[in-house]
């Protein structure tokens, strides 16, 4: 792993939201992980576990409560001149879950895609601008006739392709995809996932792929992080995580997925996660520790010894 270059480093990131009466929601409560150049990191967990908030804080949509996000060694949240900020934002882009809500209905597809090109001054002439738009449309499997239409004229899968084209327009290095396929039909999901993988191969993109569909996450990701109540409880390579889940929450989550095979479904047993099963003592420190190379689990000192004994 040492030869891999870190693109993003997330260090003890916290994102708290005040909800009034002096109470706070700890949406993200101290997560630490790295994203390597050219990889896809999957982030899974149930709704409310903080996976989307993590993504949004990384890209700077929220100011972090504490902790640090480094992109190529530069802090995302530190004070910057507007020029520096613009440069940073060009390198990171986002694809959203709802292709119906994330495209401005009053702009043509060409204007939606070219907005980033205009802001960053990436095209000098009108011809060059349209040439870029046509290229991008073809890259994502649409054609140039689509440029002058409006979002409502497209299906969900096509709109998601427009969202991807918009993200690609400024030639980013890193894309956060927040549930990009959840709103799409099964047959269309595969089209969009194949497109994302193809673009990654061609352009060397790095993805943070946030989703709750675990089978699709496993398929697209190199490594996967599992979140539970604002904490990352397990992080490992995709195969390893599915084959040897260690944290009881990961085990419960994996055992709950129905598989498209009637025979295994008839015998599948589900395990249930109960946070009290750890029997942590009051104030016992929990740390994210490496059990086997590249496989991290949130555990206490005692559990660490136990897991080490079992799994290595």
């Amino acid at each position: 792993m040492a030869e891999k270059q870190k693109l993003i480093e997330i260090k003890n990131l916290k994102q708290y939201f005040p909800v009034g009466h002096g109470q706070v929601i700890k949406a993200v409560d101290g997560v630490t992980f790295d994203i390597y150049k050219g990889e896809t990191l999957g982030l899974v967990g149930e709704s409310g576990c903080g996976k989307s908030t993590t993504g949004r804080t990384i890209i700077g949509l929220y100011q972090a409560t504490s902790g640090e996000v480094l992109f190529n060694g530069v802090s995302v949240h530190a004070k910057k001149t507007s020029q520096e900020l613009k440069q940073l934002k060009r390198k990171m882009q986002m694809i959203f879950q709802d292709p119906y809500a994330s495209l401005n209905p009053r702009m043509t597809v060409a204007d939606i895609i070219a907005e980033g090109i205009d802001i960053h001054g990436l095209a000098k002439t009108q011809e060059e601008r349209m040439k870029r738009v046509y290229e991008l449309l073809e890259t994502v499997g649409l054609n140039r006739e689509h440029a002058n239409r409006y979002p409502h004229e497209f299906s969900g899968g096509q709109r998601q392709r427009i969202g991807i084209a918009r993200a690609l327009a400024v030639e980013p290095e890193f894309i956060i995809a927040d549930e990009p396929i959840s709103a799409l039909d099964v047959s269309i999901q595969a089209q969009v996932v194949n497109l994302m993988k193809k673009l990654q191969r061609e352009k060397g993109l790095t993805y943070l792929f946030i989703a709750h569909d675990l089978s699709m996450v496993k398929y697209i990701s190199d490594r996967i992080g599992v979140m539970y109540f604002g904490k990352m409880v397990e992080l490992a390579e995709a195969e390893e995580l599915y084959r040897n889940p260690i944290h009881p929450y990961t085990k419960a989550l994996l055992s709950a997925i129905p598989l498209p095979d009637p025979e295994t479904e008839r015998v599948r047993r589900r395990t249930v996660y109960d946070p009290s099963q750890h029997n942590y003592k009051e104030g016992e420190p929990l740390e994210f520790r490496e059990i086997t190379p590249g496989h991290f689990v949130l555990c206490s000192e005692e559990e660490y010894k136990k897991y080490k004994a079992i799994y290595s």
Partner: protein, 355 residues
């Protein structure tokens, strides 16, 4: 086995500015007592319209049942007046919707919404109804039902609301339960709980279930039989084993192959179904799936395929089953599933129109 519901050649259309949308184009199936039939298909395939037509929830106009029969308990629901349907809807047929937040009344206590069914259909008095409502909440696994019965839907979590919806739907002991994507909005762990609950209740009460979903994992978990819909028609129907281990229609192949499998480490490209579903204001000539079908033959663009019978329970509408059709290999991902099923006929048989 006794048939509870039989739908015969159902056709439903909607009148829109763009023309007449033929949402359901000749659907026939039956449902036995105590069994679960899963209907799968993409959005716009007509699966929700079919089930809402059985409940007669289609607004008319713009909707219209153009032809067909819905025989439920020996009576044709397609011919009932709205008034007559009121006595059946909620009593003999219950329905669970996808989004529990918009289908419960936010201004009514959860308990009242269950009691409403009991008072209207079972003519219970208020005190007895409340007691039964508490019992039902306990049955669907809601802790402290005595307290919960007096709460409003916003005080419930998503999974709890879906449980409350199931309690409303089951309150009158319906013979048929229609569940339209009941777990799609829920997390996997909650989904697993709801599916277990539904199966458990079915065992206790002998309810028949029509389960609409696009998640093939859920289908494998709950269904006895499966109907695959495409562009307003059933293209394949069979027992759950027949659909998963011996699929015959290229669209079913496409659905099965486009999903990544959890237990394989295969990272090769997913076999996506190219293109998008057809526009049903102007259904294409021949097989509606032909333009997206890599196995399409010339005849698919000319003439609609008839229904072929592969076994007593297994039907598929594709020309590939015709004796004159060339032999084709299904996609790799499907080939891995295939098994010899002993119940198959030696040769697929064309189903006559009258059947």
């Amino acid at each position: 086995m006794e048939k509870l519901l039989e739908v015969k050649d159902l056709q439903v259309s909607f009148q829109t500015y763009g023309g007449e949308v033929q949402a359901v184009r000749g659907v026939s199936f039956h449902l036995n007592k105590g069994e679960t039939l899963a209907i799968v298909g993409e959005s716009g395939s007509g699966k929700s319209v079919t089930s809402q037509t059985i409940m007669r929830l289609i607004p008319t106009p713009p909707g219209k049942i153009k032809s067909g029969q819905i025989i439920f308990n020996g009576e044709d629901l397609a011919k009932k007046t709205d008034k007559e349907m009121e006595a059946i809807r909620g009593k003999d047929i219950g329905m669970i919707f996808q989004d529990p937040m918009t289908s419960l009344n936010p201004t009514m206590k959860v308990g009242h919404q269950i009691m409403e069914v009991l008072v209207k259909h079972l003519k219970m008095d208020k005190a007895a109804a409340k007691e039964r409502a508490i019992e039902l909440l306990r049955l669907v696994g809601i802790p402290m039902p005595e307290k919960r019965v007096n709460q409003y839907p916003h005080e419930f979590s998503g999974g709890m609301r879906q449980r409350a919806m199931i309690a409303v739907a089951l309150a009158s002991n319906p013979k048929l339960l229609i569940a339209d994507e009941p777990t799609t909005a829920l997390d996997v762990t909650i989904q697993a709980q709801i599916l277990e609950l539904m199966k458990d209740l079915q065992k206790k009460m002998g309810t028949s279930i029509i389960f609409i979903t696009h998640d093939l994992g859920v289908v494998a978990n709950v269904a006895d039989r499966v109907a695959v819909m495409y562009a307003g028609k059933i293209v394949e129907m069979g027992t759950v084993d027949e659909i998963f281990y011996d699929p015959r229609h290229p669209y079913t192949w496409g659905l099965l192959a486009s999903m990544p499998s959890l237990d394989s480490d295969d990272k090769s490209e997913l076999a996506a179904i190219p293109g998008t579903p057809p526009d049903l204001t102007n259904p294409p000539k021949g097989d509606a799936f032909a333009p997206r079908n890599p196995y399409a033959m010339k005849i698919d663009f000319e003439l609609e395929p008839p229904m072929f019978k592969i076994s007593d329970t297994h039907y598929a509408a594709t020309w590939l089953l015709h004796p004159d059709a060339p032999k084709v290999e299904p996609p790799e991902a499907v080939k891995k599933r295939l098994r010899q099923l002993s119940s198959n006929y030696p040769q697929p048989v064309i189903v006559k129109e009258s059947e």
